[in-house]
Symmetry: C2
Subunit: 290 residues, 2 copies
DNA sequence: ACAGTGGATAAGCGATACTGATCGGCGTGG
DNA sequence: CCACGCCGATCAGTATCGCTTATCCACTGT
């Protein structure tokens, strides 16, 4: 289970082709074939169906493990390298689009450490988590939906600590002409049969909502992979589906925002960090979490 | 960052000697030396001080990552191998000593699947978590202390899911002649200066309590690494220190059990599983979590 | 039937990863 | 103070590994 073999395995599984994976990795097709053969031989079982190239059941299992393992390997390298260098004079902060605005904390930080250059980068949940693990970001802010006082369920990426920073109630965004739009508050169970917009980067991922409502409902009409809240609200107004958002989203024409009464869920944002290296990161972490 | 290199690195760091590690791993001392040199060369930094052999700062970082990575690698292999074989006719359940007794669930299970052979193994928290990850146990039961409706903070070992099974209040075990033993209920903050028995396998680990009380107090007088509750209570009765336990522990002579009023904490046990393979594990999981 | 596509296999060669032997620095006991 | 012993570094040699190139073979679509 050499990491190289794992790497080519996921590349092959992703691209569905030995030759394509070979090209992507800078190998020969022959080498890739031998890699897969070595893995299958080592584990004593077929990992891929050929023609078309598709993971077998054990292959699926391995795939679930392979990506996190490779990620952790990278994270370990990054972490070690960070430990050797000087604590940097700049600070890079990764944040998901709707994580509670760190603007206040940033001004506080610049007051206490004037010479510091701070960069704020907006990215998706997974990108932020990976960026923190890989040392690309010194700190990360991730938002999501969870039961009150539950931590967010994050990706399993390296040794990181999280601390909760902010909670806020949830609202459902419906088009103004939706039959339920005149209500004051809603129960998500009333909406299991509605059509939803799956916007995993900004709205509550449907999978989380399904887990919270303990239903199989909540079918996605379309998925919006972007990170722009206005676009999402426009999609809602146009009747493409509903979305669950934190209450603080700005009201938008054509969209009604109704408080979610049950199940008891909150929008939560958490601070994510591996090792806190420099004093800048330390004070920012302190300001953000406290 | 070949796993082999990581393996020998942790072996060397643990044993504090190249030659000893070589013996343990079945290598030559020369090979171990080359392994470490390769790692240090790859990462561009010294990982170990020599004479005496001790991790450098970057080495410490790498150590934090290495063990989980190696564990996950093993877990991946085990998971794949489990996917290939037949679902087994027997079921192995790992449980921490104080995880809520699965006796009721087990009888339920044997009623519905009479031919099944079930093994219950008691182990420490970490051993159970690793056993589940490695496929040694089909299911795991782990208990611990957490804020109400918080999940337990578990070790980062492979892709596993947890579901809460049982909550129960906490008590402090004090010797009968303790000045506070006549009280009805206690606040842990009243006890930050007391002496505690650190029994991480069965009682609430002191680190968890410190986090919950947000103090640096709670100093350990002695640590009891065993898993026998009676022994622990005997230590308490003999005045060696206090311990926090779930309320359901049997009363013991010389020991007073007082409810913990604040901070709000519960004893919680969780079901831990990777993939549910056989029907036996599926129904046991259903019974335990339902 | 036949080309074309895409994975498997074979041969060869440079790189790798061990072992055994030797060297060298440091601490220890006489 | 010296000599020895311990332990890690280094070197040389060899077996194996892991690539590439070249070729083969099974299946697909026409």
């Amino acid at each position: 289970m050499d990491p190289h073999l794992l790497r080519t395995f996921v590349a092959v599984a992703e691209s569905g082709s030995f030759s394509a994976a070979a090209g992507k990795l800078g190998y020969t097709q022959s080498a890739v074939s031998q890699h897969i053969a070595a893995l299958e031989n080592d584990l004593g079982t077929a990992l891929l169906h050929r023609r078309p190239v598709t993971p077998t059941v054990p292959g699926e299992r391995l795939l679930e493990h392979a990506a996190p393992i490779l990620l952790r390997l990278d994270a370990a390298r990054a972490d070690v390298l960070r430990a050797v260098g000087e604590p940097p004079g700049s600070l890079v902060l990764g944040a998901t689009p709707l994580s509670a605005s760190p603007a206040r904390a940033l001004t506080e930080l610049r007051r206490s450490m004037p010479g510091l250059s701070v960069t704020l980068e907006i990215a998706g949940r997974e990108a932020v988590a990976q960026g923190v693990a890989a040392g690309e970001f010194h700190l990360g802010l991730i938002d999501g939906v969870a039961a009150p006082s539950d931590p967010l369920r994050l990706f399993d990426t390296g040794a990181r600590r999280t601390t909760a920073i902010a909670h806020e109630p949830l609202v459902v965004a419906l088009p103004d002409d939706h039959p339920l739009a005149r209500r004051k508050r809603l129960n998500l169970h009333d909406l299991v049969d509605a059509r939803w917009i799956d916007a995993p980067e900004i709205a509550a991922p449907l999978a989380d909502l399904r887990a919270a409502t303990e239903t199989d409902g909540l079918r996605a009409s379309i998925t919006y992979p972007g990170t722009d809240t206005l676009t999402l609200l426009a999609l809602v107004a146009a009747g493409h589906g509903l979305a669950v958002l934190p209450r603080s989203v700005a009201p938008s024409t054509g969209v009604t925002l109704l408080a979610v009464e049950a199940p008891r869920l909150v929008h939560r944002t958490e601070l994510l960090h591996g090792h806190i290296d420099g004093p800048a990161a330390a004070t920012l972490a302190a300001v953000l979490s406290g």
